[in-house]
Symmetry: C2
Subunit: 359 residues, 2 copies
Amino acid sequence: MVDRVYNFSAGPATLPIDVLEQASQDIKNFKETGIGLIEMSHRSKEFMAVAENTESLLRELMEIPDNYKVLFLQGGASSQFFMIPMNLLGNGEKATYLNTGTWSKKAIKEAKLFGEIEVAYSSEEQTFNKVPEQGEYSISDDSEYLYFVSNNTIYGTQFPTFPDTDKLLISDMSSDILSRKIDVSKFGLIFAGAQKNMGPAGVTVVIIREDLMEKTPENTPTMLKYKTHADKDSMFNTPPCFAIYGVGEVLKWLKKQGGVEAMEKRNIAKAALLYDCIDSTDYYRGHAEVGSRSIMNISFNLPSADLEAQFIAEAAKIGLMGLKGHRSIGGCRASIYNAFPTEGVEKLVAFMKEFEAAN
Amino acid sequence: MVDRVYNFSAGPATLPIDVLEQASQDIKNFKETGIGLIEMSHRSKEFMAVAENTESLLRELMEIPDNYKVLFLQGGASSQFFMIPMNLLGNGEKATYLNTGTWSKKAIKEAKLFGEIEVAYSSEEQTFNKVPEQGEYSISDDSEYLYFVSNNTIYGTQFPTFPDTDKLLISDMSSDILSRKIDVSKFGLIFAGAQKNMGPAGVTVVIIREDLMEKTPENTPTMLKYKTHADKDSMFNTPPCFAIYGVGEVLKWLKKQGGVEAMEKRNIAKAALLYDCIDSTDYYRGHAEVGSRSIMNISFNLPSADLEAQFIAEAAKIGLMGLKGHRSIGGCRASIYNAFPTEGVEKLVAFMKEFEAAN
């Protein structure tokens, strides 16, 4: 048995030990073929089955409607920042963005290369400590889509409910996909890097409504057209085989846990343990406004930067790793994605109480 | 011990068993940290060391000069087909391409989106069974670079020596990087998908002369500028951590084998075993002209398609897997990259002789 620590890393992030054990075997001999998973042709029937199974599990768990394609792409979520406007704003149309953190800012920068971008809301002046409520912004009639980041990994904020609008919704769900039940049919496109809630780094899932793929300008490079990948079931070129396999294994695990609904309940309970601890004292201060709190990333501060450094160092000594906040806001952050165990959160809460009493 | 077969797959391709064994351990507990390699932050000191070590080993083994950057990118070699002209032909300049197979054809198609493309040579009419000799083509004075595919995986052809020209050389070395000694300083840019000679699928190595990164047009998306990745040591966004780790492990293995020079000798000897067998009879016919033969991929035919199917099926029964040729030319193909053992080639040659005698 592996001697595990509690890994609060924001991504790549902790994975279920069952997944690691299985991958450890498959990597050197996949299903007794005498060939390891990572040296196996992507056109082999064995790997094709892996890819198909990964897609069908994701469809099942997220209840993705038939008129949506599921793509497994490379380039990270960061490549979606330009691929979305490149494919959807081909004639320089207008789109609306909500600026709730580093990742939406980066997406806005790339989108401006392709169309007219309206930033309808920004919480930048208050260090991105909240997401907008319904009615806090308005969208131009001629806007093609509304883009927002469902969960802001760095600041620890999350949309508790999604924008209620007729506009096409596009969302970066990199850090909360599969953490709560959503209605995919309300979205035009959802994307997420795998390395937080879905598997190892190296693959990005794009869920796109089929009709949207027809908007791409002709002169777009082949590899940058969504349709290229959709038409070939993400096998137009050699896919990132191991990362796709890893996502499939995480999805199998997720299904065994009871699926997304069960996971959502557990996530809410895990986050509540931490927020209750934070709210019970003035020693710890949550970064996010209460109504915008994330159930995935909990960013908080201690009375001073010195105490924060001491807190992080002492936590690491007892196997609570990766609690340092992102360099852009400092402080502490506990990322508790689907695969993060409740016992780890309980241990952190116990440590927080001890640390407060001692310092 | 794993019961291994001989895997002649063209890519993803066979990897050294030592690499698979090591990955199998590291994946669940990296260097006794209690965190698996694939769930570890890419900003952790442990993973940063992996990435640095991978780059420095590649620099050492290929003797890459200091004025070249080594990038680990996503999107496959196929993404380089457009990234190269997008970055280097920003003002619609001219470039020259040698058309020696499927992958050069695809590269030409993408390049035409950005500049004026001169196809100075094509062996398409003879089913790409050769590469050009020096003097078989000419390059316009105003051409910015000469692009060629060093080894053509599908057709089993390879440039025995590189084009002798003052022009900037750009080469797709996906299927023969690290298989033979080359002088990097003669090139402007070399790229290769990892999944043939370097590691698992999911990462593409780009070796680029620094000054070339200055040509990229301003309005290029951030993720598509070489400079973005060079400035951040390929960590601008979350990299494909496991694939980079895998390349590093393969490079460690390669160094232990004696480096590129030792590997080249072994590769020549392995290929000779097969070509000698093919040349000793009329039963087997090599696809490539003798002067263009690849030491990595040996494409050959039997007297009929029926016999080829029978050959592939019987070979599989004795553990010689993946001998089916690419769908575009049919027949048989043995891919024998660096990690493919000599014993496997010997076993194939013995089988070829038996099969000929029996059929």
